[in-house]
Amino acid sequence: MPAESSHANVVAGHAGSIAVPPHALRHHFADLEQQRETATLGMWVFLITEVMFFGGMFAAYLVYRVAYPVAFQEASQHMAFLAGTVNTAVLICSSLFVACAVHAAQTGERKQIVFFLILALLLGMVFLGIKAVEYHDHWVEHTVPGASFQFQGTDPVHSEVFFALYFVMTGFHALHMLIGVGLVAVIIYFAWQGRYSPAYHTPVENVGLYWHFVDIIWIFLYPLLYLISHKHIY
């Protein structure tokens, strides 16, 4: 780490009235506000790249859905409507808790940060658990694309494409959920240690942004994958 003493004077001149924890301000920023705004912008720009990443999959979905609507409808009847709906609710609740945790960080209530984040973490795990059960059911039903795929329908080939897209999209989403759960766990640890204060809580905010983004992706996946057909078997 480069010597910070040489320009500590510059920093001191700009630091706000609130006590700044020593670990909080990185050497190349003038003050905490600049640092916070920088981190927030960085997170937003990162989320835009994530939008484009999922955007590629949504484009693939769009192309095939427009081309093979019947095959997609039939395939969608084999989706666990109830599990998908419950999972949507679970994620929305977890987003609320994350928002509350950020609020707690802004007002400096350490125990509340930990409490709300633990709730969010648990709901995240519930989501992944339900997802795992769904995947298992698809495996048992032979609706996992590949050699073991079996499907009774008018156009099984393109129904298989639907399931390929389903697994790819929800798979990448679940991967993001896993990362989110890991990040939240880290934040819980640091929050418990008392690292965050009203002056410095950027990591809580940014992990919150990430969590909400993953929620947003699911909000779109839910109608696209589960609500295509008005005939739900489950």
Binding site: M1, P2, A3, S6, H7, V10, R26, H27, H28, A30, Q34, E37, T38, L41, G42, V45, F46, I48, T49, E50, V51, M52, F53, F54, G55, G56, M57, A59, A60, V63, Y64, A67, Y68, P145, G146, A147, V157, H158, E160, V161, A164, L165, F167, V168, F172
Partner: protein
């Protein structure tokens, strides 16, 4: 700015710490830039070796040097290494890293640790690609067209694809860092209108990196998944559409051309004013045209697919939009030309490269107009005409810009002056060798020689021989700087803070700069390229000698 840094013992970013750990764990943007410089130079010569073998094979119409399988791997690896490991990182990761913070008067990029991470990601991606090379190579071409890549190729597609995926994230993080840095870290007084044009072009480049690269990542990931799990997304046997891959691939890979060329345009916009000693003509037009290129660049991708089986109406739309992206490039060329008008011109090495850039880029751009014209593209698509066209842009354009940047900023990066005579010799050699290599390929293409051909009809031989001869001259041209730049590290004269008397904040600090770049955060009160306020350029012989 007063040069108050002439203290007895100068501490620079180079001599603060000599341990290997201090390099591999550095968060100093300047050291990371040097790490990039070393790695991409290595990759450049690996890719160059493949190119050399390709040209040697094409000396004769028969396949007498290598087998067809080997040849297919050679051009695939040449493309993959050159594009993903050299051209994409080249100017942004080396000169952007080094000079974006310095030009805006910041101490570092916004996220120094992410900056280091992105170098490691490039190294991991590079290692995966190198692994795929030594374990048998890839024979899909750098384009990975499906269903060949997902179903029929039995080479190391997965390892190379994974390498590109990882290297892509390196590119994304670099772009993210630049964008946030330019928004949030500018020194007081450094308004957008005062930023050097290099920063505008880096910003535009970053926009492309951030919005395009994720789509490539998902396209490659889908190829990977389809190949490993045999799920049908692109494979028509499984219900997919092979053209969808091409759409997703070119959504990134056409704008990726602008990731390569925009930074070079930025460099040229720095070099020409400096060696013409005047403000760039039409600052706003040049700055905005960079942004326009970044935006329009995303609207034209299917001009790579005019004969691929897209609908005729779609082709019409993309042809029209392709002309829109040619316009901002033309504006830049006209403005650079106007900048030279009534200047006071010094034909030093960086200027030679910059002029070379204008020449070759203009020819590359003009032939691009042929390719956007539907009727002609049908004939020349997938022929050597296309090969020549994009080498004029990427080698004639991007690499010339890279060399201009290297020679322009070498004194700042290393604090040393390279031998000017050798610089000029190398620049001229590269220019001549390049034209001899790629001009004949335009004719070959119109004659109908398809690309990626290992054997070819005998009537094409003469032009191929010319091209190979040019390639060997070009190879020598690229080796020369390697020699004299290394030589200068040990024997070169000290450069002093500002050997060209150039404008820009990076020249106001010591060469090589101290770790924290500036002793005090600079306050900018002047416009960019204020050459009328600066002393004349020192004569060649006096540079460095007086220790300015």
């Amino acid at each position: 700015m007063a040069t108050s840094t002439q203290i007895v013992e100068k501490e620079t970013y180079l001599n603060t710490d000599f341990s290997i750990k201090s390099w591999l764990l550095t968060t100093d943007h300047k050291r990371i830039a040097l790490l990039y410089l070393i790695s991409i130079t290595l990759f450049f010569f690996v890719g160059g070796l493949f190119a050399l073998l390709i040209r040697l094979e094409l000396l004769t119409p028969a396949g007498d040097l290598v087998q067809s399988d080997t040849y297919n791997k050679l051009f695939s690896m040449h493309g993959i290494v050159m594009i993903f490991l050299f051209l994409i990182p080249s100017i942004p990761a080396v000169f952007g890293n080094f000079f974006v913070p310095m030009m805006i008067g910041a101490r570092d990029l916004a996220f120094p640790r992410i900056n280091l991470l992105s170098w490691y990601l490039l190294m991991i991606g590079g290692s995966l690609i190198m692994y795929s090379i030594v374990t048998g190579g890839v024979d899909t071409g750098w384009t990975f067209y499906t269903p060949f890549s997902t179903e029929y190729a039995n080479t190391q597609v997965v390892a190379a694809g994974l390498g590109i995926f990882v290297a892509g994230f390196s590119s994304i993080l670099t772009g993210l860092n630049f964008i946030v840095t330019i928004h949030r870290m500018r020194a007081p007084g450094m308004s957008w209108g005062r930023m050097p044009l290099f920063l505008w072009s880096m910003y535009a480049t970053s926009v492309v990196q951030i919005l395009g690269t994720p789509v490539l990542a998902i396209a490659v990931a889908l190829v990977f998944l389809e190949r490993v799990f045999r799920i049908g997304i692109f494979n028509p046997q499984l219900g997919g559409d092979p053209l969808l891959f091409q759409h997703l691939f070119w959504f990134y890979s056409h704008p990726a051309v602008y990731i390569m060329i925009l930074p070079s345009m930025g460099v040229v916009s720095e070099v020409i004013p400096c060696f013409a000693r005047k403000r760039v003509f039409g600052y706003a037009a040049v700055a905005l045209s960079s942004i326009a290129i970044a935006v329009f660049g995303f609207l034209v991708w299917a001009h790579h697919m005019f004969v691929a089986g897209i609908s005729a109406y779609s082709a019409l739309v993309f042809s029209l939009l392709s002309y829109a992206v040619a316009l901002p490039s033309a504006i830049k060329v006209f403005n650079w030309t106007a900048t030279i008008y009534k200047g006071s011109i010094h034909l030093r090495t960086p200027m030679l490269y910059a002029l070379g850039f204008i020449g070759l880029f203009t020819m590359g751009g003009m032939t691009g107009l042929f390719l956007s014209s539907l009727g002609i593209d049908v004939h020349v698509h997938d022929t050597y005409f296309v090969i020549a066209h994009f080498h004029y842009i990427m080698v004639g354009g991007a690499v010339m810009g890279f060399m201009a940047a290297l020679h322009f900023w070498w004194p700042k990066i290393t604090g040393k002056i390279y031998p000017e005579v050798w610089g000029k010799i190398a620049a001229s050699t590269i220019f001549l060798g390049f034209n001899l290599t790629f001009l004949p390929q335009f004719i070959l293409g119109y004659l109908g020689m398809p690309r990626r051909y290992h054997v070819y009809p005998a009537d094409f031989q003469v032009l191929n021989v010319m091209s190979t001869a040019g390639a060997s001259i070009l190879g020598v041209g690229y080796l020369l700087p390697l020699v004299y730049l290394f030589w200068s590290l040990r024997y070169g004269r000290d450069a002093g803070n500002n050997p060209w008397n150039a404008a820009g904040l990076e020249w106001t600090t010591a060469s090589p700069p101290p770790t924290h770049n500036f002793d005090e955060t600079p306050v900018v009160t002047w416009e960019a390229y204020n050459y009328h306020q600066l002393p004349a350029m020192p004569e060649e012989e006096t540079i460095g000698a007086s220790g300015i």
